[in-house]
């Protein structure tokens, strides 16, 4: 047999075998059964981190010298939802944050009312799930006191953030972004509804007029363009049931890692 043909055949066989292994790898790696098993680590991570952290342990804060020259926006940067555009046209003067669900007193707050609420200013690091970080100074209304005003009902366990930015579809019919946190993070002192970034009103790309800061978790938890906050007893009926737009697409709901 011609050794050259032989070698070519061998190379082809090896390439085919390699492709088969890769395809098999892909199938196992992406299988829902594997995902179910692997997702058990998320619950372990949440419990272990909560055990190691004090309930109110602060995320590290930085100095003005550490602030990143550009706070990189990610995800949606120019929402096209008609309601959002109408509010934007009037510089958000008619914006009202709705707080409802399992609360005693549903609230509807203007930006002026939010600015008058107990606030916190913090220079913190924003960690994207992709791996990069930016440091910025955020000022916003502390979520804890606002929730006390609304009066959470005893059954309330999570807060769901409903947003203006829409995904996977044209404006007005796409899926509005959504995220959720539990009450430990909701009442954490650094958890704020931010209306200022680096001393200016929050730019559109970074979530104007109001975005969440939940500093002990990754960037996708920090919902931008917040429209409504809903207190719920379970996440099962929210979106795909895992409590957030990205969690419903395979990412951890608890994003402390």
């Amino acid at each position: 047999m011609n050794p050259l043909i032989d070698r070519r055949w061998l190379a082809r066989a090896l390439a085919a075998a390699g492709a088969a292994v890769l395809a098999g790898c892909d199938q196992i790696a992406e299988s829902p059964q594997a995902a179910k098993v692997l997702q058990t680590a998320e619950g372990v991570n949440r419990r272990v981190q909560r055990l190691l952290q004090h309930r109110t342990a602060l995320a590290p804060e930085f100095t003005a010298a550490d602030i990143s020259p550009v706070f990189k926006p990610n995800g949606e940067t120019e929402p096209q939802n008609p309601d959002y555009l109408a509010l934007l046209a009037n510089d958000f003067a008619d914006y009202r944050l709705k707080i409802d669900g399992l609360v005693e007193h549903p609230l509807s707050l203007s930006l002026d009312q939010l600015r008058a609420a107990p606030s916190r200013t913090q220079i913190t690091r924003h960690d994207c799930v992709e791996g990069w970080s930016c440091i910025g100074q955020w000022k916003g209304a502390r979520l804890g006191p606002i929730l006390q005003r609304a009066g959470l009902k005893p059954a309330a366990r999570y807060l769901v953030f409903h947003c203006f930015d829409e995904w996977d579809g044209p404006p007005g019919v796409g899926t509005p972004y959504y995220e959720s946190i539990d009450l430990v993070d909701a009442f954490h002192p650094q958890t704020i509804l931010a209306y200022e970034l680096n001393g200016q009103t929050v730019p559109m790309a970074n979530g104007a007029p109001l975005r969440l800061r939940v500093e002990r978790q990754l960037g996708y938890k920090h919902a931008k363009y917040i429209r409504r906050i809903e207190a719920v007893d379970s996440l099962a009926s929210i979106g795909g049931g895992r409590g957030g737009y990205w969690p419903d697409r395979g990412y951890d709901w608890y994003a402390g890692i």
């Binding site: 892909d26 992406e30 997702q39 990143s68 960690d127 994207c128 791996g131 402390g256």
Partner: protein, 288 residues
């Protein structure tokens, strides 16, 4: 538990080299490191650039992989390292996905999952991080309590003084076959110590530093590594060092005798040459 030597029919001796706990933790570690490496490279692909400091200085990465147009509708893979640019088409920056040259940092054949998927890679990485950490803790506990680390890995002063000779012997791929093969040589001891007490714990610490949740619990982690982005870079460099160690380790296993080495890490038994027969004892009464 030390077990007695077993004499083989061919005159050699099968010594009991690796206790069960060491063999189990070794192979579990192989599995965990393989998954962590491949899923880690997939995670890196989501933002293929490394920085030093607290935050990302996007314009000045220490290392970055990307693609650039070749002017004829094709793509050139580019790796930037310490201010210099290298063309790495086919391997880093641009490689084939289903036959098509595609912009991606590490190629499909070394990432888990092979196709671009950050969410799934994170699931694998953080599940096997627990396997890796628990397995490593069990190994260390066993190694210290049973004095495996102190007795078998910690080099003696005499060994360190004669390290030059050991390097020469090793470079010539000359390995002891007889009684001396019962123990690790000084280079093995040092490299294993650096891996189990240095590189592997460093992977865990730098990994923890990247977690915003753990940074709130242990802010000193950030001071230790000079910020989250530095920790991410050290994580990558340390992983590279572990890959280099594994490559050398595999070459040495083959050079020292693939079958014998593999058998010893599977069954525990390692075959050495019997000592040369002792000189005949003097006849009684012949001295005097």
């Amino acid at each position: 538990m030390p077990r007695p030597d077993r004499a083989l029919p061919n005159g050699k001796i099968a010594v009991y080299r690796h206790p069960l706990a060491i063999r189990l933790t070794h192979w579990l570690n192989v599995l965990a490191l393989l998954v962590m490496l491949t899923s880690g490279l997939q995670i890196f692909n989501a933002h293929p650039a490394l920085y030093f400091g607290k935050a990302a200085n996007f314009d000045h990465p220490v290392m970055a992989m990307g693609a650039r147009d070749d002017g004829h509708g094709g793509l050139i893979g580019v790796t930037r390292l310490a201010g210099r640019e290298y063309v790495t088409t086919g391997l880093f920056g641009v490689s084939k996905v289903e036959g098509q040259p595609t912009e991606r940092a590490f190629p499909t054949w070394i990432t888990l999952p092979p196709t671009q998927d950050l969410a799934t890679a994170r699931l694998w990485h953080f599940f096997f991080a627990w396997v890796f950490a628990i397995n490593g803790a069990l190994y260390l506990a066993y190694g210290l309590i049973r004095r495996h680390i102190q007795r078998d890995l910690w080099p003696t002063g005499a060994e360190l003084r004669h390290i030059g000779g050991a390097i020469v012997e090793h470079a010539r791929l000359r390995f002891p076959k007889g009684e001396a093969a019962r123990r690790y040589n000084v280079l093995q001891k040092l490299s294993y110590l650096i891996v189990v007490l240095g590189l592997l714990p460093l992977m865990i610490l730098t990994g923890m530093t990247m977690s915003p949740g753990l940074d709130a619990a242990f802010p000193w982690l950030l001071d230790l590594f000079g910020g989250r982005q530095s920790a991410r870079t050290v994580h990558f460099i340390t992983a590279t060092a572990i890959v280099l160690f594994v490559l050398v380790h595999l070459v040495m296993v083959v050079a020292a005798g693939l079958v014998n080495e593999m058998r010893s890490m599977i069954t525990g038994r390692y075959v050495i040459d019997a000592p040369a027969p002792a000189p005949p004892a003097p006849e009684p009464g012949a001295s005097a």
